[in-house]
Symmetry: C2
Subunit: 843 residues, 2 copies
Amino acid sequence: MRFPLKAPARSLLWRSLRVYQVYGANTEVGKTVVTTLLCKAARRLWKKEETGYVKPVSTGAATDADDLHIRRFAPGIPSKTLFQYDLAVSPHIAAEASKKFIPSDEILLNELSISASQQASRGPGWLFIETAGGVHSPGPSGSTQADLYRPLRLPVVLIGDSKLGGISQTISAFESLKIRGYDVDTVMLFSEPQYQNYQYLTQYFKQEHDIPVASFSGPPRRMENDTTSDVKNMSQYYEDNSKSETFQDVLNHLNARHQDRIARLESMSTKASDIIWYPFTQQKHLTKDKITVIDSAHGDCFETLIPETQPQESTTPVPSSPPPTTALLQPSFDGSASWWTQGLGHGNPKLALTAAYAAGRYGHVMFAEAVHEPALALAETLLAGLQNPRLSRVFYSDNGSTAVEVAVKMALRAARVRYGWDEVDDAGRLGVLGLRGSYHGDTVGAMDCSEPCVYNEKVEWYEGRGYWLDYPVVEYSGGTWVVRYPSEMVDPLGESGGRSRFEYASVSAVFDVEGREKGEEGRFYEDFLTATLKRLVAEGHKFGALMLEPVVLGAGGMLLVDPLFQRTLVKVVRQHPSLFGHSTSPQSPSSSPTAWTGLPVIFDEVFTGLYRLGRFSAASYLGVNPDISVHAKLLTGGLLPLSVTLASEDIFQAFSSDDKSDALLHGHSYTAHAVGCQVALESVKEMQQMEGRGDWEWAKGPYEKEVSEVSTTSASPGKDNLAWSVWSPEFIRWVDQLPSGFVSGIWALGSVLAIRIASADGVDSYKSNAARVVQAALLRGDGTDVGVDGEKSGDISRWNVHTRVLGNTLYVMTGQKTTGDSVWGLESLLRRALEDARKAGSA
Amino acid sequence: MRFPLKAPARSLLWRSLRVYQVYGANTEVGKTVVTTLLCKAARRLWKKEETGYVKPVSTGAATDADDLHIRRFAPGIPSKTLFQYDLAVSPHIAAEASKKFIPSDEILLNELSISASQQASRGPGWLFIETAGGVHSPGPSGSTQADLYRPLRLPVVLIGDSKLGGISQTISAFESLKIRGYDVDTVMLFSEPQYQNYQYLTQYFKQEHDIPVASFSGPPRRMENDTTSDVKNMSQYYEDNSKSETFQDVLNHLNARHQDRIARLESMSTKASDIIWYPFTQQKHLTKDKITVIDSAHGDCFETLIPETQPQESTTPVPSSPPPTTALLQPSFDGSASWWTQGLGHGNPKLALTAAYAAGRYGHVMFAEAVHEPALALAETLLAGLQNPRLSRVFYSDNGSTAVEVAVKMALRAARVRYGWDEVDDAGRLGVLGLRGSYHGDTVGAMDCSEPCVYNEKVEWYEGRGYWLDYPVVEYSGGTWVVRYPSEMVDPLGESGGRSRFEYASVSAVFDVEGREKGEEGRFYEDFLTATLKRLVAEGHKFGALMLEPVVLGAGGMLLVDPLFQRTLVKVVRQHPSLFGHSTSPQSPSSSPTAWTGLPVIFDEVFTGLYRLGRFSAASYLGVNPDISVHAKLLTGGLLPLSVTLASEDIFQAFSSDDKSDALLHGHSYTAHAVGCQVALESVKEMQQMEGRGDWEWAKGPYEKEVSEVSTTSASPGKDNLAWSVWSPEFIRWVDQLPSGFVSGIWALGSVLAIRIASADGVDSYKSNAARVVQAALLRGDGTDVGVDGEKSGDISRWNVHTRVLGNTLYVMTGQKTTGDSVWGLESLLRRALEDARKAGSA
């Protein structure tokens, strides 16, 4: 490959260079003519600046190419065609037929970016990039141009169609651009007198979209075989029109839009600092320079404004006001997956179209006592996908926190009804049995499900309701997978025999819960948990639910919990119903194999479910089926809020009564909103298809290899039982081997990577700053210049990684569409950042 | 006007008649040729059925019209052109030039619906409706066809463009249909060999949208001037192709789609009954026949499946299995505005495109320590729109309930910090001061803000925290506007002098709070409230916030609260800070005129704000500025969940500290999600523009007239102070005058109408059924046949009103785009339903 492609494609924006992409509403609408006029007019009006022209892909005889047209009629304008194919058909066919090199989308974008960057580095000016055919005409690779060029998200000049039918073509082309997040700054078309499309379109775009439409006479008709006259007429046409007020107005408008965009971007952090109240943020410490300004996003990356004072490299401070030829935007890998929500990529056109379809078909329609297709189909898809025979009912709400509140209301009522507890005396005392450090959301009811901690202890109405057990955690450390017991489980005289850890050769071996259950650990956990529960009940605790985040505790510190411990906890609770209450229910609870026993078991899979950890449900890692299952975040592929609480039929029946007030009187106005359900349906199906197609085989491969190599004691897991991650075992080993105890533990599962940085002061809490040094190094990112044909590429290879930390733990999370190449690039950046931070720390 | 237009346009669906709308990706793509083939093939394959053809609008010489083409090449197919204009240009120009009748969109849809309905009534068959030009080519009125025909939401056959550039045209046309909620069932195009668009499109639509593409050879080239040969060649072409397997497959596919759609619609209520857990519903009583199946929605209406057993009229029971020629769908006016969310109409294409734009530009991007344009612009717009100098900060969350929790967390902390209350001892005891029957949401924290009631009293963790005052309510009753005091305010010996009501001649007079404040009532309220607060504090209540739904209590029973009482309550709280605590804050709270005093005042405007009551903010009716303002529901125009909690700077500062854990540690993953913010920005601006343009003058007129007529004591309110409603004063008077005390009170403000039905048993609670009789009558709706030219129109005039009731109160709510005509139609239906219910009750 000729071009280094390490950095992702980025939005192009320079202070001094105005770059516009010219799209056509159709082929043969006059794109080249209008672009020639724009070039000529720009050169006339901005005499001291450079006006450039690029045609990324051209088809048809080279002698007839658009860049030659520019050279002939706008002499002196540097013009360039990047890829040219002789056949006068769509580029995807012409490229195939040519037997020439067919650039991938990445290479095409890279070439174009370098070309623009080179002009930008030469000084102020204009650059017009002319596309081929219509907005959705395919490029060489077969991707349609509107999709292909989207990562650059250049502002658009849309050339309207002045022919019969052209109104429709122009509006549809506009809409196709719009749903991909393009900003169309102006529409231009010929003032063809017969169809008068320009009149209709001028009014339409003004009224519907506040976009100006410029119209002007079309080029002179070509004479038969009289090339000399044609050229003369055409030259005259260009002379006249490029000097017209129309073009002056258009360029002034485009110039103003360019300046306004930059001015707005540069003012946003100050304005946000003044009027936004940020979630989960101590704003006293959030100075405006720390606010990331996001211009747009695509795939794995935000496009962020490069702060004026941000150092390029830790060793090379940058002047506080960069030259106007410096790129203003850089891709920032969204390393927290935007608070763990992202799956199918930012700016995903399919999800955008899906959202629009539901908005167009329904808007929002009320859900109480009603049903619509996306809500029903999503409910069916989730019930089928979870493969949990206990679950039969789907309750919709807005986010993980509300879905958890619904789950708790369900569970407590089911327990209270079955055990005949009093509505007034007992209900308020009912607590949840959970794990220490659990986090379930920020509404008061969800907060009450967690033990007192930094997130809730100062909230006036918070009241931890329940008991939270300590538990063994899993980490890769010292060259092996370690299950480490908390101190309260280590009893030299008791069952553990003083043992405080078990070691495994692979993460899959840790997740061989059925095998491990039969051994020493299984027995120990069962005995320990049975004794603990008896003690808690004896101490007066009254439980109405067992509530777990299966496998991983997210906000509690990104902890990988021993799956065998969670599995055993569920088993023990279910096996000892008499510990919790005495059934007063008329029918025996055991009459149905799917009825709950002991306590209703709630799995909060808001973070861990729907392929975050590589599987549809995190519960499958435990081999345990909850009675209530809560999902959100990835449910919509990362687009917008929606959540579901699924429950078993016997829990549902606990609310059945002749009294309306016995119902689950919970509801949100936008319950099961059509846009969310439709997007979720599309997202869940897409992720299921990805799994079915084997889209993650590239990631599984190294883990399969590792298992087969290290397989010693326990049987090698089948392909279905594999525990794997997009992060490579080789990288995990590298991190573990960093010198001087810089990293105290690491794990990866599915798309999640967590690295626990050893802190000098031994503090390991939410308030700790140990991981922030690495975070800062990632945010500085990579700004190495990329050499191409001996030329500097400018600054367009610069990118960074935007992460969140939890105490000493730095975590990075990919989406479900993130490619192996991207992870490889990320691992490289992480290696450098870890090395830098380690050296800085030991210096 | 020739056609009765009372019923809204509806989706067309019959069991026996398959109706397809043929759209073209462009003009000149062969729509008529393909439609002719479809007609011929359908007639050949379904010999015993009728195949029909309609061209709603045709331009160009009548002798060259498409229906003549059908008659020539598909003889025996009934074909019809509804509106024909001679000029061969876009219909909007041709119609204008013709000097002929130009149908409004409503008339065009009505004509087309009648035409289809007439064929449906004749028996099974096919109907193909051919559009003109491309999908966005304007119709006679100027609306583009994709918008114009949307209320019918007919399944689409899209004719692709096989010419150069046609790939782009076809995909863009498809996307324009998709974002309007159309289902494209198949794409068809000529297998043109040079450009091979069909190959690309077949793969594209299969892969991206799972839609089959049918391709086949195009028609023979016309010979120069040889009409006879042309006709012969064309006839042969039609013969060959209409018998081809391709067309057989297409029609079988369309037939299967049609059957599947109906089968799915008819199974949905059963499936929903089996797997959905409904919000706020006692499902024991929700039999599947009571579940409304919503196929789509448009403007004010759902399109709902007509239940098989639903009686058409109360007196005429219908056979349980209606004939296959009966329409399956009917428009149902969304009378609860989908739980009070709807403003800009269902299926609003502008909001759909706006949602898609944000989805395409960002997807969702994390908001902690970051900012993006829609979130910032929306924050700025709301702060400017509310015109409340106290508010300076915007906190985003997902829905009204979470936004209220945020508000409470803000207020309690601010009060605790200022008054130096202890974090552990005092915080949990802090309550809100509110009004009886207030409702703020269903999460536990929001529930705790309301007094014990049917919504919360059985919820295990509910714990009412505060005190809730009784208050005077406003109703029109007995020909006058009455302010009625609760019993606890009526003290024969005290300030009220035993008086229990005040009467006003207009609703605007009730809302003249400044005038009334200076009089007897103002003094009485102030004295009463001061004494009450002193008593409550003396009794040991400890308050951290005053929390009100300004003007109207929604879920609490749709009660219009005396605005003077709420205004006075805020005044009294602010004037008596020493009642609540003693400031320990270093700076004096009165140092800023926008700082809170007494208690932080929270206005929950989730239901009442953003034009629901006719104004941007309901607070303006009270002439009072809250310290914290909560908004949701209408915020997004009714599309999807989003909420904001706005707060004053001194409340924000209460969380400022060097300790991160002092921050407002509340956040949702999708905080300030771009799609929601962008849609909200568009919606809020649109409503502001509607107000600015005077779009509601039609509704204000009668109220201005009423005020000027009845103005006696107090000064007539200025236009800005007018209290008005879309519901006419004349209708309100009519309802009030219904005999035998059937209605005990009524009020209307902004888009809301509430009618309190007198119940026989005197029960007036959430559990009451008094209003359900009227609700049922509205649900039966109107099914009068509409006579046109002596022919029965079939059943296409049938429609109904879908409402929710609260105890004895029936309420109906419009959107902000609902027209005067629609309200007039609704009032007619309401009159009939009230009359029917009254007669049934007294019989």
